[in-house]
Symmetry: C2
Subunit: 342 residues, 2 copies
């Protein structure tokens, strides 16, 4: 059986769940759904595989180490700066045996059916061992315009398909047409490939990343479970996503269909969708009293929140910030002064 090594990406610092998520305490490290943090839940659903590699930045290191808990044998790669996903994944690939299958997981996604995730991961790993670069093709539940889409090509082993096309975020009309046509999946940024295959493709397709990173790793230093790439070499690497750098260019792109109650928790609206709700569609975390409310999300870190007569509204209380927004307005949270200046 192939060794599956989870590679957990902890580099982001999103503002879309501000004010709960802040630069100093970003989304992965918050218990937004259930009692575990999103990062802890990500580790938990990978626990049946090998010890993980966590790629993060110094700013988040204390959160990562505090929450790694029982993940014994975990390695932590500390990036000198944020350099997008291609570089983060490449660092992990260069620290692993060539035949290891990397299971690349963002640390800020929610997956409601971890058993299904593990099953899909095993199929993807089989294809990865055959030399494919595999994307999880997440079954669309609606014509979302916020995700890229993957188009299925010819069938492969283990229920997989060649990826016929990577489609950039479509407009609503195109997204609706994709769902009507069938054979499209969301690209959720979850991948499986062997370290050697990935590095071969990276070298071929993105030498501006592969070269500097080889130097950064060669000159890097270990400190217990931590590995620090050389900062000055690292700074020379291009900052682009793994999709642009590798996945969209390789001739070996494949996908495995994934039906696993997935959410990228990319807004308060999608967090509300992912949460357990009462009969009126309300979801509460913290002290709250709701009267005549439907589809309301309340998140409070202390003060009691009383809500009366509202539908489809989000209320977030965090420290000295209070956010009240319509579900649709939640898309604009990152543009608020508070979120910009956090």
């Amino acid at each position: 059986m192939t060794q599956i090594v989870p590679v957990i990406l902890c580099g982001g610092s999103g503002t879309r769940l501000w004010p709960r998520s802040r630069a100093t305490q970003p989304k992965p490290f918050l218990p937004l759904i259930g009692e575990d943090t999103i990062f802890e839940a990500t580790l938990a659903r990978c626990a049946s595989f090998a010890a993980p590699v966590v790629v993060t930045r110094a700013a988040h290191l204390s959160h990562v180490e505090a929450q790694l808990g029982g993940a014994t044998g975990a390695c932590i790669i500390v990036e000198p700066q944020a350099r997008n996903t291609a570089a983060a994944i490449a660092l992990a690939a260069m620290r692993l045996p060539g035949d290891a299958v990397m299971l690349v997981c963002p640390s800020d996604h929610h997956i409601g059916d971890p058993k299904a995730f593990a099953e899909v991961a095993c199929k993807a790993a089989e294809l990865a061992s055959q030399g494919w670069l595999v994307s999880f093709g997440i079954e669309p539940t609606g014509p979302e315009t916020g995700y890229g889409y993957l188009k299925r090509g010819e069938p492969l082993d283990h229920g997989g398909f060649r990826t016929a096309q990577f489609v950039e975020k479509p407009d609503l009309e195109r997204a609706t047409a994709f769902l009507a046509e069938g054979g499209y999946a969301w690209n959720g940024g979850i991948f499986a490939f062997s370290a050697a295959t990935f590095l071969d493709e990276l070298t071929a397709q993105a030498p501006g990343i592969a070269g500097p990173l080889r130097e950064a790793v060669a000159k890097g230093r270990e400190d217990g479970a931590r590995f620090y790439p050389d900062a000055s070499a690292f700074a020379g690497a291009d900052s682009i996503s793994v999709d642009y750098a590798v996945m969209e260019k390789t001739a070996r792109a494949a996908l495995v269909p994934a039906r696993m109650v997935w959410s990228d928790i990319g807004s308060w609206e999608s967090l509300h969708a992912a949460r357990d709700k009462d009969d009126e569609g309300n979801a509460v975390n913290g002290r709250a009293e709701l009267v005549d409310c439907r589809g309301v999300l309340v998140e409070s870190d202390g003060p009691r929140v009383s809500v009366i007569g509202l539908e489809g509204v989000v209320v977030v209380v965090d420290g000295d910030e209070v956010l009240v927004t319509s579900m649709a307005g939640a898309q604009k949270v990152g543009k608020l002064g508070g979120a910009m200046n956090q």
Copy 2:
């Protein structure tokens, strides 16, 4: 010219503006509109008359004395307990010369046109000197169902009218009919009558108040500007409103029409209506950022409030309580657990 003595009633402890208004810091003592508190504004618009008599309770005494400011010569009557308006007004009447005209003012109303108020007060005082018990008949601005109505009878001097009828809070159909018919006014609980006339009527119509209060005043004690009625005698007085006890029963009821931009600030919705607003109808007190909002009221004692994409919503942050309600839902604020247990 008749001596007009403002009698300011500070006995209430309403919960309808919870959580900003609390048992320990009720509505009159808060700067809800402009920089002055509602009590201070009440004093200010009576400043052209004689020194006021303030009727309050021990719980509010510190607020009253702190905010009396320049109201030199003011007397404070400290009620042993809340005993409704008839008793409060009777205490003041018993402490005043019989020919003094009492101008009875709740301390928790907003009047946007203080000059008009003073003019109406002078007309009411003239009628009071003639032996009438005069209500301010507030010109209705809509078919409100939350107020009692006064029906005009035959004309009197000084632009006044006999009060033909006191009408209990009507349903919407009746209120709409009153406005269509004309000749009706809101009963806002503002009155003018001479002390002697009031006490004569009280003795005749409500001996269960007049008797115990005479004893409470006779056995009371002075302490500087404060007067403390005897608690045990006071406890024997009936607890009913001045409307029920006297105004609805007397044959000498009159009204003067009053058009003075009045509000009882009886809910967050009516506070929003009384506030200065921007072009989108938003009113903000405290740190706030509003995006795509209309008709929103924000009141914060500290934390920044960010609101996106909402219409007709009230957000109040006060200490450890956060209230978010639709304008219509604001009627239910007093029934929330927080407001009940404050």
